[in-house]
Symmetry: C2
Subunit: 567 residues, 2 copies
């Protein structure tokens, strides 16, 4: 990548009307932006939400298309900013493949994006683990001092229920040995022995809070509402009650500033927050969106996983909270991933592909297109025009591309365009950008799936109905939790369904467009700070593990001191 | 502090001949410096090593004196840079009191110094924990695949001994519940169940490595030598063998750049690394020293704890490895801490002082001065002139100050001066700076305590002799470890005695200048990457805990978004 000329970041900022005074440089090619520049009345841009068909191990190239599309807008002379999430170190050192896009559509400098960047994830780790340390310390001192705790400290007893601690610890690595741990082993001066565990940092509620906060004050208030544990009487214990919410906010004070970088064609990109699209809403930040919408005519943002995941959550959670309205949804698909979605193959990452996937096969493609059809309908349900972006591969046949184009239009897509972002950058997405621009001019209004005031069970039903499920089944535990959450005053919150991204249903084995299935919700949990109820439909992995041949083996410094092996 | 005008950091750099091209800005008042500017032949400055008498709960004001002295040199027109360690988050949120100095002698912006700064500690945490995750993952996969591990992966079996894993995990918080943990609880896909624990990040060997590395290449080689565990046959397993040393170095690539800040009088300060002065050598980095010695006439650096700790280790470890030679030792003392060192009182932090400490009492002072006498002799042992800096308090009587001055001179101090750094900044340390400058002109040559080639037991004896001990006693375990380390080829390394800083001996109960005592070494461990042998004389806490009324309770954001409660 040494051949690509990066522009000084303040030059790019200036081109987009961001004055020096709002920039906090981190070297010459990266800067944080002070959100103080946000003027609530100054939003002028159109937001484009990039989603996809059901993800497959082959990948749809959603990030490449997001970055490439922002370059395409610039190519046709339209000021455009991309807003994406910050990658975690876990996948960078675990499975080969960063989150910078690729080819002629990537975020640079790639090694900065994929490593520490401007420290936001580290700040979240620090803030999260401060609360965990504070909770265990309080547990220890209350147990140690017993009746003398309040007289000696002047603090009320919190009476933390050791079996009802909700706040785990976090680390930004794939570390399976930390999934289930015992802390305070041996007790005594080394704390209270109890079961605990680690999540990867992106799974912290603080990550969702960072992404959803309007400003520092709002972030402070959200953090104060976080429920860390319950007391022995079942009442929630918040970060505010532990008196740690202020310090947590202080640790995240710089993290609230989005980071400005550039693409391989010098298009500005804002990197901010990185919530998952299962246990959280899967999109970058409200603050980054607002800055971008104020400084550019078009803003491209990527929602995690398929349209049943990140896109749905963008509308029902992020739009609901922020009022930031997209003007168009782009659904990314590849011929290979559509064929894979047919359900005819069992494809595993790293194993050779069945030859049928690469060969021209309209019949197979037609089968997989049912999945696309579902996602087009799902996006249109929210009231927006849909453009299908075909992320083209060299082996794609003209016949297949033609079929796909006709099919998508027949399903109600507003347009279908090929993206050659990887091989041609902005020149390869200019037509896509034109189509998206035209779609953005269509009048649209977001239809949310449910109003705040309906019951949580009605929200669950509304959501699983969109999947095509016959019904939602709640376990006994889930039913009790639902009732407790409504009693505790959380019934007005939107739902965040934590399910597999690999099927429209909650069962990864059900491919393409599943029929005749049910969705079982095993538990409900509240993210009181982020402002949503997590409904668990299946086991969601929040701490990945390292494989036998992890990517870190090939990452090193060469003799000239350059980083090698990162991608 | 809002009234103090910070200069743009690039202006300060330029004044000291550091061109823009070597600066990596982090905002306008902080920049990293690219060590590429180091020219091995260009060192021109004199290094001043600030140490102290035996520390007491009252504090001697060593950091204030270090910062103030650098301001004093500037006050008398001499270009001077201070080199200090980066503070950990643990004490910032635990016990009130950051590490920025205070009054008119502090490093600004204080909240940047005390929080994330430029991310070096986070980078160490990430690199350290990557190795830990990698080790547990390898353990898991080798156990899971058994005989199939090598055929399936092409990698050799490491045969990690689950009972001989040396590499714990780290977090930059005071978190007692993590001292002893069990990881992999339940086994199966969640790893191998085993006993583990956390240290605070400053205790990581990577912290000492960062401080001692000559450059990126040297750091890469040091990391490759780190011993993570032993195999079931007792052979060491290094970071290189686990193929994680390159990735660890990549995570620390930016951390190798020292951070430039300024004092409240715009004197440049380099912040770099933060090793403890018990389990490590307790001084900031070789790279920061080299940059400072090249760009300034005088460089002031602070060694951790008393002269028996950080100063001794500066000579026998850091000077031995780097050849960086101080020209003068400054010993900081206060009347209060000398009186406390008399051993007549049992003073606890936060409790009211005995009135005798504040009252003029030459007899009491004279008793405590024996401690100063020992530290003067200890510093002179290494061949350098010693200046005593009296960090003055408003209650100090002229009679006492006079006594102390005469006493110190009679013990062989080259000079004695009052430091009014806290109340008067550089104007209050101008005389001290003059005295230090004169001392630096004295011819001096460093006498190391022992040559590389003597046996480890001779090194132990040489060191405990300086404490005044009758002899060193090795436990059976220590004797065996010593022999194993020499057999393994580590006999040439210098020693790092891990003992209490609260006594010249290894027993915190022995005050002032202990006599007739022995020092028991319970174990030896090698820091193969940092390049020293740790000799444990007593239990050393490497994971602090939070108290009942921790400082985080008062740290918050005010309505204007400013940080409050940090000090």
């Amino acid at each position: 990548m040494a051949s690509i000329a990066l522009k000084p970041i303040n030059e790019i900022a200036l081109q987009y009307g961001i004055a020096q005074q709002y920039l906090i440089p981190y070297g010459s090619s990266i800067a944080k932006i002070d959100p103080i520049l946000i003027n609530p009345d100054a939003a002028k841009g159109k937001l484009v939400l990039v989603s996809s068909i059901t993800p497959t191990p082959l990948g749809e190239g959603k990030t490449v298309t997001t970055i490439g599309l922002s370059q395409g807008f610039n190519f046709i002379g339209k000021p455009c900013i991309a807003c994406i999430r910050q990658p975690s170190l876990g996948p960078v050192f675990g499975v080969k493949g960063g989150a910078a896009g690729g080819g002629k559509a990537q975020v640079l400098p790639m090694e900065k994006l994929n490593l520490h960047l401007t420290g936001d994830i580290h700040a979240i780790t620090a803030a999260h683990n401060l609360a965990a340390a504070a909770l265990d310390a309080r547990l220890y001192h209350e147990q140690r001092l017993g009746d003398q705790f309040t007289p000696q400290t002047g603090l009320p007893r919190l009476n933390i229920d050791i079996n009802h601690i909700l706040w785990k610890r976090v680390v930004d690595h794939n570390d399976r040995a930390l999934r289930h741990i015992t802390v305070g082993v041996g007790g005594g001066v080394n704390g209270v022995e109890r079961a605990d565990g680690y999540d990867i940092t992106a799974a912290s509620e603080l990550m969702a809070i960072l992404a959803l906060s309007d400003d520092l004050k709002d972030m402070r208030q959200r953090i104060s509402r976080i429920i860390l544990a319950h007391d022995i009487h079942g009442a929630p214990i918040t970060a505010e009650q532990l008196e740690v919410a202020g310090a947590m906010t202080v640790l995240m004070k710089d993290a609230i500033q989005p980071t400005l970088m550039q693409t391989s064609e010098n298009t500005p990109v804002l990197i901010h927050a990185g919530p998952f699209a299962n246990i959280a809403h899967g999109n970058s930040s409200v603050i980054a969106d607002r800055i971008a919408l104020q400084q550019a005519d078009y803003v491209i943002t990527e929602a995690g996983f398929g349209s049943d995941m990140g896109m749905e959550k963008f509308f029902n959670i992020k739009y609901r909270q922020s009022g930031i309205k997209p003007s168009c949804v782009v659904l990314v698909a590849t011929l290979r991933s559509l064929k894979t979605n047919s359900g005819k193959f069992d494809i595993k990452p790293g194993q050779p592909l069945p030859p049928e996937i690469a060969e021209s096969n309209v019949e197979l493609l037609a089968l997989g297109c049912q999945n696309l059809s579902w996602h087009i309908a799902n996006a249109k349900r929210y009231g927006l025009p849909v453009i299908v972006a075909i992320n083209r591969f060299p082996t794609d046949s003209a016949e297949e591309l033609d079929y796909l184009r006709q099919y998508a239009l027949s399903c109600g897509a507003e347009g279908v365009e090929i993206s050659d972002a990887f091989s041609a950058g902005g020149a390869g997405t200019a037509k896509l950008a034109q189509a998206v621009m035209a779609a953005c001019e269509k009048p649209s209004d977001v239809n949310l799936l449910y109003p705040d005031e309906v019951s949580l069970i009605e929200k669950v039903e509304a959501l699983v109905n969109t999947y095509g499920a016959k019904q939602a089944i709640l376990t006994k535990q889930a039913t009790e939790q639902l009732s407790a959450l409504e009693k505790a005053g959380f019934g007005h919150l939107p739902l965040c369904i934590a399910k597999t991204p690999l099927s429209i249903s909650a069962d990864p084995a059900l491919k393409n467009v599943p029929k005749d299935f049910t969705v079982t919700i095993s538990s409900f949990k509240v993210s009181a700070g982020a402002g949503f109820i997590r409904a668990y439909a299946g086991n969601i992995m929040t701490m990945p593990g390292l494989g036998t041949l992890p990517a870190y083996r090939h990452i090193d410094i060469d003799d000239a001191g350059n980083i090698v092996g990162l991608s």
